[in-house]
Amino acid sequence: MSIRLLSPVVLFLLLVFLIGPFLIIIAASLSAGDTLAFPQGLSLRWVAKVFTIDSFRDSFAMSMFLAVFGTLAALILGIPAAYALARYRLPGSETVRTVVSLPIIVPGIIVGLALLRYLVVPFGFNITLALFFAIPPWCCPMPCVSCPQASVTCAPISRKRPSCSVPHGSAPSSAS
């Protein structure tokens, strides 16, 4: 009985903790005040202002570019690999799977640092290009890890179920 009374309280507090901060930051972005604080009156002035800043527009364009083309590149590389790993038993398929899934486990900041040090600095690599390169290895594992399982359930063919070497859902954690 007490548990039945307790659940709504638990859920309410949970939502306040998980969702509350978003509502607050959305409210703060609509604030008319001068500092980052709880809103003093509503206005769109900060929203309008941010689009007048060149560096914001540039980074916004960059983010969009990377999101769209990084995803495309990851799919172009990832889908054939996932298909091959799911359909054929390759000599080194476990190795390929491990190599392709590693970027999920390795923290993003380490990958970024390594690329900066060994691609950008010595070879004069363009930063945009390096950022672009950094995305597919990180996204590739998604189609690779999730597709084999989808194809197992859809078309069971005679082979052992591929073992998923990466815990599902660990991706958001290493984003940086």
């Binding site: 901060p21 054939p80 390759l90």
Partner: protein, 275 residues
């Protein structure tokens, strides 16, 4: 058959080569740098690293915060997952959606919200000074507590989702049966729920723990240079001190820790299946 194999290799190779060249190789070179000095293999960088008090403090702080976040998220996670599982189907779907929502949003935005709440002119401080509890605003940001709260909010959904699926897979009659046989709620949890959902707890715990160890944005924004964690220390070593050897040592420690957690997860999961 051979033709198929050749085809398959041709399909899989581009991704593997790409991952190897753009990811594996640079990371491997970075890690090897920590073991080399004047062309010889050595552990000197590691003994150097751990001989400094600051580095040891940061190392243990990262480890301790990871454990704390994992433990607290497990406690909250059980309460929340239990409450969600017992909701009617419609409400359950909505609640799971709301719990998943934070995972879709960038960690930067998620962490930034805490500045509005905990900052000098933030909500908490306005309330404290407004109520006259303190004349000066308290320093809540750039404390270990702030990092803890940020990490907890960041990773709690992963724990809740793991525990929800574990609780859903539990036999429906187990809890009523234990209750009928006279177990109190504490015994029900300890002897029935916990053993039956151990796998979900292990998966959630690993995700939260490795996540907390390797998160960069949250400690950077909420801890700043006052509360360094391994990742922020690493960034500082590179950007301020230009010390790549020390960064490589930290990178190696971080990777070993997340691998260890992943191996432990597999071990625990299979140990249970065998029994």
């Amino acid at each position: 058959m051979f033709q198929n194999r050749a085809e398959a290799l041709a399909l899989a190779l581009p991704a593997a080569i790409f991952a190897a060249v753009v990811f594996l190789l640079p990371v491997a070179i970075l890690l090897s740098e920590g073991f080399r000095s004047d062309g010889a293999w050595t552990l000197a960088a590691y003994t150097d690293f751990f001989s400094q008090t600051l580095n040891r403090t940061v190392f243990f702080r990262t480890f301790r915060l990871g454990l704390e976040v994992t433990a607290v998220s497990a406690v909250i996670g059980y309460a929340a997952a239990f409450a969600i599982v017992n909701l009617p189907p419609k409400g359950k779907g909505r609640m799971i959606g709301l719990v998943t929502l934070p995972l879709m949003i960038s960690p930067v935005a998620r962490t930034y919200a805490w500045i509005v709440i905990l900052g000098r002119t933030g909500i908490v401080n306005e309330a404290i000074t407004g109520l006259g509890l303190s004349a000066e605003p308290l320093r809540l940001l750039f404390t270990e507590t702030a990092v803890f709260i940020g990490l907890l909010q960041l990773f709690l959904p992963l724990m809740i989702l793991s525990l929800i699926s574990a609780l859903e897979n539990m036999p429906k009659d187990a809890i009523p049966a234990a209750r009928v046989l006279g177990a109190n709620w504490f015994q029900v949890f300890w002897k029935v729920i916990l053993p039956l959902t151990r796998e979900g707890l292990v998966v959630g715990g690993t995700l939260v723990f490795t996540g907390s160890l390797t998160a960069y944005i949250t400690p950077a924004i909420l801890g700043g240079s006052k509360v360094l964690m391994l990742e922020t220390l690493m960034y500082q070593q590179v950007s301020v001190a230009n010390n790549f050897v020390s960064a490589s040592v930290i990178a190696f420690i971080l990777i070993v820790m997340s691998f260890a957690a992943n191996i432990l997860l597999k071990r625990l999961a299979t140990a249970r299946n065998r029994r």
